[in-house]
């Protein structure tokens, strides 16, 4: 009996953590979204009984999700920014992870340490440092002027979408490199050697062996950085501040920061969560399918 429960009990702390810090807060968001607001301070009054939930706020928020309406514009922009930033992170991060896994020998430990260094500084501080670099008389403008690339300081902080996307890439790329490195490092060298022995060129080996074997790692790392990017609001606040670059996180923040419509903020959180859950389902489906294929090939 003891033996039967011994190993499963190892999952208890994680399960308790998940229930306390994920399921309960998620239910609280639902209770706020479908709840009411106190008439004096406008604080949300969660309604815990689903039978008493009110859905009119969610209906009006969904109404604003129609093409051309307020939340539609912001959701579409958010998805575009995240997609471009993700592509940028992969373009920068994959070669770095590949180099670390395959070619960095003695310097591997040092390079890995350097990759971890950004985690020592909070994301917000790194964004503020980025502002210092991009100021009209900041290091970037001065360097570009010295090199003769530009004659006048470029307005990096003038509400440019490109600056927000670059900042997102800068902020999240370290989170992508480490899991990708872990996957690439696990690819057996003899698999690559087999490809070359069979006459494949280095590029062909990469395209037909390395890349497919790292597909799950790409997906996992992409999920890891895309999820926080979707909820990000401070990157836009710090780097741009323009309504033209506002993301869905900014709208959620707007409704939670004040006023009597916290229920709208909570409804936006739920809609975003549902969308992300759909994306996550795709990731899970791909992962399960891949592991099933691996098992089949071993039989």
């Amino acid at each position: 009996m003891v033996r039967r429960w011994f190993w499963p009990s190892f999952a208890l702390p994680g399960a308790a953590w998940l229930v306390l810090l994920f399921l309960v807060p998620t239910y609280a968001v639902l209770a706020v979204a479908f709840g009411t607001t106190d008439p004096i301070f406008s604080n949300p009054v969660p309604v815990w009984n689903p039978l008493d939930w009110q859905f009119q706020t969610m209906r009006s928020v969904l109404g604003e999700m129609r093409p051309g309406h307020t939340f539609w514009i912001v959701y579409v922009r958010t998805f575009a920014y995240v997609a471009i930033s993700l592509a940028g992170c992969l373009a920068i991060g994959y070669p770095v992870a590949y180099y670390l896994a395959r070619h960095a020998r003695r310097s591997k430990a040092l390079l890995l340490l350097l990759l971890i260094v950004p985690f020592w500084v909070s994301y917000l501080m790194r964004m503020l440092a980025w502002v210092g670099l991009l100021l009209p008389d900041g290091l970037v403008n001065r360097a570009l002027q010295e090199l003769g690339v530009i004659s006048q300081p470029y307005g990096w902080l003038d509400g440019q979408a490109s600056s927000v996307i670059l900042a997102l890439i800068y902020g999240y790329v370290p989170y992508l490199i480490l899991p990708l490195y872990a996957v690439l490092d696990r690819i057996e060298p003899h698999v690559l050697e087999a490809g070359r022995d069979l006459g494949a060129s280095p590029i062909s080996t990469f395209l037909h062996v390395t890349l497919p074997l790292s597909k799950n790692g790409i997906l996992a790392a992409s999920v890891l950085i895309a999820l926080p990017m979707f909820g990000d609001y401070y990157t836009n606040d710090v780097i741009s501040g323009s309504p033209r670059t506002s993301m869905i996180g900014n709208q959620i923040n707007l409704f939670f920061q004040g006023g009597p419509q916290r229920t709208v903020g909570a409804s936006l959180v739920i809609i975003l969560s549902v969308m992300l859950a759909l994306l996550m389902s795709y990731y899970l489906w791909v992962t399960v399918r891949a592991s099933a294929q691996t098992e089949d090939s071993l039989l």
Binding site: P39, R244, T245, G258
Partner: protein
Amino acid sequence: MHPRERRTTRRHFLFASGGTIAALSGADALLRAAEALGNPFSGAPMGPGGIPLARRDHPVTLPLYSDNGPIDSGLNLEKGPLNVFNWADYINPAILKDFQKEYGVKVKVTTFENEEEALAKLTSGQADFDVWFPTVEYLSRSVAGKLIQPLNHHYLPHLKNVWPSLQSPFYDQHSRYTVPYTIYTTGIAWRTDKVKKAPSAYKNPYDIFWQAKPYSGKVAILDDQREALAMALLRRHVYDVNTESAKLVDRAEGDLAQLTKLVNVKTNVNDYTDVPAGKTWISQAWSGDMAGAPNYLPKGVKPTVLGYWSPASKAVIGSDMIAILRGAKNPVLAHAFLNYLLDNKKAVENFSWNGYIPPLSAIHPEKLISQGYIPKNLGSTIVRESDFEHGVSILPLTTQGQSLWQDAWSKFKAG
């Protein structure tokens, strides 16, 4: 009929005079009574918590409750520590040191970033503060929710130093719950070395924003829905900046949206750092922020590059205040602290650090310039009592009004 259009009745007088209200305990009871009497606070819209919304033409005497009275006179000072809940960087640390030394107590300051955050903490029941710095927008709710306690004026002899018009302000007649802390205007800041035409050179100075195409990307408005939309209303000569007319608020939103198209306007509250740093060349700004802006200029750049304009009449005037929390453990000491901040000398010392002018009669605008507190070119940041009298105030809205303004702001911020 809109509540604003109702005329004064005798019941209004009786209700507002406090006698009736003192007998009622709790905001719900007050609200029910108000409803039963058919809104006796005639002429003024009813706010959250059942207290009429203060308007310049409808002053409000905040109610007293039987279970939330002022402290008795003649009590001894507590030993502290005094817990102060304030906006970040809003009080001179030297003043706190002086107070600690003079009264032999410790002062602990906890800061908040915005009033909503402060309210969330205060209403959670976990906070343990004595003094709080609320704004007019949250005042009546704080009274209705019994968050703050009435003041005992015996402990506040320095209240006489305050401008006569603010000794019994329209939002808190007889200063029952608050004393004023600072006063400021909302106007336009610009870089005189970058922008060719000053706001005053325009027929309608607010047009500087809508004609700033050459400065696209260098234009900002305050990230504050009330302030930003109020500016768009004032540009159209709508002086009721607390309007709940959907038509007017929507038009103001449309005007701000034009700014996004025309000049890619930014929204933030960094006027005091961004204008000196050259990140922004034209910005909606608070006078106190611009009075302190020279401190943020890069080395070697003279304060003459900064300009500030606000209208001589119908400027948005803000008045921040200080209150004592109902659950204060050191209420006598808290009164002493409020009184200390209203001392003429201490108030000037505080102003020299945070840039926000205390509304005290002894402070002469000319002296602030001649004594070097404010550069001559930023003399327009000084607020006079007449400015307050001729200005407009951003005041609390009904719950529906708040939603209307917030929806408009959300639409603008979506870009």
